[in-house]
Subunit: 326 residues, 3 copies
C-alpha cells in the first residue's frame, strides 16, 4: 500500500543510499533504483527493508524486499532475492534512509496551513463549533460534528457520522464511520521513538498513521500516537475511556473495551474482545490474545494467550492474584 | 429531586413503556401513568425504578417506586407497593426506558448553542479571557474568573468566587462557591457506561450530573464524568491534583486530598478526610471509609473500613506492605 | 539569584515579620531589615530561611541566612550567624512570610493581561498559529514555532529554535534552546502544596519557576508544576513522553528518558541518564541516582543508588522482580 499521507521523495539510486550511510566500498553493489522503504512484511520488489533482531527471523526469510539493511550476524537469514546492506546500527541507519525518502515525517511543528473551517468546502456539510481549524489534504464525510477549538491538521480522513469533541487535535489519521472522539484528545502525533544521544537525541521518522475503524469511541484527554514504519490501529467497535495513552505501532482488535488511564506501550498487539481494567499498563512489543481480560491496575510484561484472565504486576492468572486478598 | 438539567419527556403510560420493552402480554398490568425513572432510593410513588443485583436487596425492599424493572429471581424482594416488570436484561431495559424519558442525555455532541461570553448577560459580572463560550441554561455567580478558550456548555451552574482556568470544558455540572477548576479539565461528560454489542456498543443514558461542593480544587487535565442514574459528587473542601480521573456516579466526601494521576472507577464512594497518594487506583462499586489513607500507587480492589491505612496492589494494611521493602 | 518572575515586595523589618507570625515578645530581636525569603542553601546574609526537619540538619548548619524560622528542637543546629525565630508550625509560618514578600505567587487565576500575538512585538520573529495569546514579561528567541490556541501567560522566557505545540498553556517558566513542548501541555502552574484545614485548605505560595534546559522534549498532555521555594528543573536533552506529571520542586538530570504516564511526586531528584518505564511512579522527597533504570509500572518509594536497575511495587532489584514471572 502506498503511504497515503507522507510524500515519498524517491525513488533513489542504491549508490545514493550507500552514501547516506557512509558506505564507501560499493563494489558488491550494482546500482539499482529503490522505490520505497518498508517493514519486512509489506516491502515489495525494488523496496528496501530492515532486519535488526533475531525475533523477526521467520518473517525476514519470507521478505519480498530487494534490499535489506541488517548486520553481519543476521544477513544469512535473508532470502537470495534480497541483497543485505551491512551496517553497525540497523535502526539508526534505517532512520537516516527513511528521513531521505520521507523528509516531512520527522518534524511535528504545528500545521500552519490550517484555515478556519468556515473558509473551506466543509462549511456546508459539517456541523462545527467556533474556531475550528482544518488543514490541507483533509476529507470529512457526511453528518459529522466537530466541536469548538478543534484542530484538524493536514492529512486527515474522517468518515461519515463521526462526532469529534472540542479542543481536539488530529493529524495523520484515518477515522472511519460512526466514530466518537471526545474532548481534548491528541491523535496522530509522532511516537516516543528516538535514538538517545548525549548531545541531542535523534528523532526517528514516523511515516505510519493512526487508523480508527468504524464505531469506535475514544475518551477525553486520550493520546494516540502514529506509527513509525507501520500504523497504529484501533479495531472496529472498540471503546476507550478517558486519559488513555496508545503508543506508536500498537494494534488493537475489534470489540475491545479499555477503561480509564490505561497505557499501551509501543508495538504491542491486542486481540479482539479484550477487556482492560483501569490504569493497567501493557509493555511494548507484546502480543495479547483475543477474549483476554486484564484486571485494573495490572502491569502486563509478557505475552498473554487467548481466553486468559490475568491481573497483578507482573500480571498472572487472576485466581493466583486474588488469593492474595484473603 | 427533579432533574435540574435533563428534561423529562414523561409522564408515559405503562403500556407505552411495555411496548418499548417488547412486552406484549400486558394482562397483569393496569395502565398507570409513570412520572419518572429513578434509582431505588430516590424513586417515589408513580416512578419506575430498577433492581438488577442481590447486592441491592435491602434498599429494594424499602423502595417507594410504584414500578420496578427486575428479573424473575429478584422480584420477591420488592415491597407489595411496587409492581415488578420482568425482563431478561435489567440494565439494557432500563437504558431503553431512560432514553425514552430523557432523550437528550445520550448524545454528547458538542454544544452548538454556545455564544461568546461577551454577547451574554455575563459580560459585566464575570472576569473572562479571550474566546470564552457559554451555552444555554447557565448561571454564574459574582466574583468569578473564567480563563481563555474555556467552554461552559449548556446546563452549568457556577456559584460565587470561583476560578475556572483556561482550555476547560464543563457541561451538566453544578459548581458551588470558592471552587477552583484548573486548566484543561473536562467535567460533566457522560461516563464510560454502555452495553457491549458486537456490531455497535449501545450507549447507556447518563442523566446524572456532576456536583462540586464549596471550596474544592480540581487540578489540571483532570476529567470528572457525570453520573448515569445518580450524580457524581466531590464533597466540600476536597482537593484534587493534576490528571485525575473520576468516573461516573463516584461520591467523594469532604476534606479529601487526592494526589496526581489517581483514578476512581464508577460508583465508588469515598469518605471524609481521606488521603489518596499519587497514581493510586480504586476499583468500581467500592466503599472507602472516612479518615482512610491510601498510599501512592496502590490498587484498591475491596472496601476499606474507616480509619485504615492501606498500601499495595492489592491494597492491604500499610505495615504489611512496608515490611516488603526491608 | 534574584527571583526572575515573582516581584519581591521586601525588604521588610524583622518586627513586621514577627507581627505577621503573631510573635509579640520581641525582646530577643534587634530590628533588622530582611531582604528576601529563601531555602537553606540559597539564602544569603540578611535573608530569612526555614528549617523544619532533621533531614536538613547538615545544610542548616551551613546556611548563610541571617534569620531562620524553625522549632525549639531544631534551633541548636543553626550556625551562630543565623538567628532562630521559633514557631509551632514552620511550614505554615514560612507560607505566611512568603505571601508577604511575594503576594502575586499564590493566586493562579488566568492571566488577563494577554494579547493576541499578532498585536505584540513577536509577530515578526515567531511562526505562530491562530489565536495565540502572549502575556507580559515574556521573551521569545529566534526561529520559534507556537501552535494554535496556545497561551503564553506572563513570566515566560523561551530561547531560540523551540517548537511549542497547540493548546499549550505556559506560565512562570524558563525554556532554553531547541526545546519541543508538544500539544496540550500545562507548564508552570502552582504545585499541589497547601495546608489542610477543615474549613478551607490554605494554599502554599509557589515562588519557584519551571526551568527546561536545552534540547528537551515534553510529550502531549503533560503537566509540570512550578516549585514552591525552589525550582522545578528538567535537565538538558531529557525527553518526556505523553501524559507525564512532574510535581513541584522536582529536579531531573540530563539525558533522562521518561515514558508515558509516569508521575514524579514533589521534591524528588532524578539523576542523569536515567530511564523510567511507562506508568512508573516516584514518591516525593526521594533521590534517584544517575544511570538508573526503573521498569515500567514500578512504584519507587525509597532512594535508588547510582547504576541500579529496579522494578516492582515497591521497586526493588529487577532480577528479584523478574523471578516472579516464572
Amino acid at each position: 500500500m502506498k503511504n497515503i499521507f507522507f510524500q515519498n521523495k524517491g525513488p533513489f539510486k542504491l549508490s545514493e543510499i550507500l552514501n547516506t550511510l557512509n558506505i564507501n566500498d560499493k563494489k558488491n553493489f550494482t546500482d539499482h533504483q529503490i522505490n520505497d522503504v518498508k517493514d519486512l512484511i509489506s516491502a515489495q520488489n525494488n523496496d528496501l527493508t530492515f532486519f535488526h533482531s533475531k525475533k523477526y527471523e521467520k518473517i525476514a526469510n519470507d521478505t519480498k524486499a530487494s534490499f535489506c539493511v541488517t548486520t553481519a550476524n543476521l544477513k544469512h537469514k535473508l532470502p537470495n532475492t534480497c541483497l543485505p546492506i551491512i551496517v553497525k546500527n540497523v535502526l539508526v541507519s534505517i532512520a537516516q534512509i527513511t528521513s531521505k525518502f520521507y523528509p516531512n515525517s520527522i518534524n511535528d511543528n504545528f500545521d500552519n496551513t490550517v484555515k478556519n473551517i468556515s473558509e473551506t468546502k466543509f462549511k456546508d456539510n459539517v456541523t462545527f463549533g467556533k474556531n475550528v481549524l482544518v488543514g490541507e489534504n483533509v476529507s470529512i464525510g457526511s453528518n459529522c460534528f466537530i466541536g469548538h477549538n478543534t484542530i484538524i491538521e493536514k492529512n486527515v480522513i474522517i468518515g461519515h457520522s463521526c462526532s469529534i469533541g472540542s479542543n481536539v487535535i488530529i493529524r495523520n489519521t484515518f477515522i472511519k464511520n460512526n466514530v466518537n472522539i471526545l474532548d481534548s484528545c491528541v491523535i496522530g502525533k509522532h511516537g516516543f521513538g528516538f535514538f538517545p544521544n548525549k548531545i541531542k537525541n535523534l528523532r526517528y521518522p514516523h511515516i505510519g498513521i493512526v487508523i480508527i475503524e468504524d464505531n469506535c469511541e475514544v475518551g477525553c484527554g486520550s493520546t494516540i500516537d502514529r506509527g513509525s514504519m507501520s500504523n497504529t490501529i484501533i479495531g472496529k467497535n472498540s471503546f476507550l475511556d478517558n486519559q488513555i495513552h496508545i503508543a506508536h505501532n500498537v494494534r488493537i482488535g475489534e470489540n475491545t473495551i479499555i477503561a480509564g488511564q490505561v497505557g499501551i506501550a509501543g508495538s504491542s498487539i491486542i486481540g479482539d474482545n479484550v477487556k482492560i481494567g483501569g490504569q493497567a499498563g501493557i509493555s511494548g512489543h507484546l502480543k495479547i490474545g483475543s477474549n483476554v481480560e486484564i484486571g485494573g491496575g495490572s502491569g502486563v510484561i509478557k505475552d498473554i494467550p487467548d481466553n486468559s484472565k490475568v491481573m497483578g504486576y507482573p500480571a498472572k492468572n487472576i485466581r493466583d492474584f486474588l488469593r492474595k486478598i484473603k
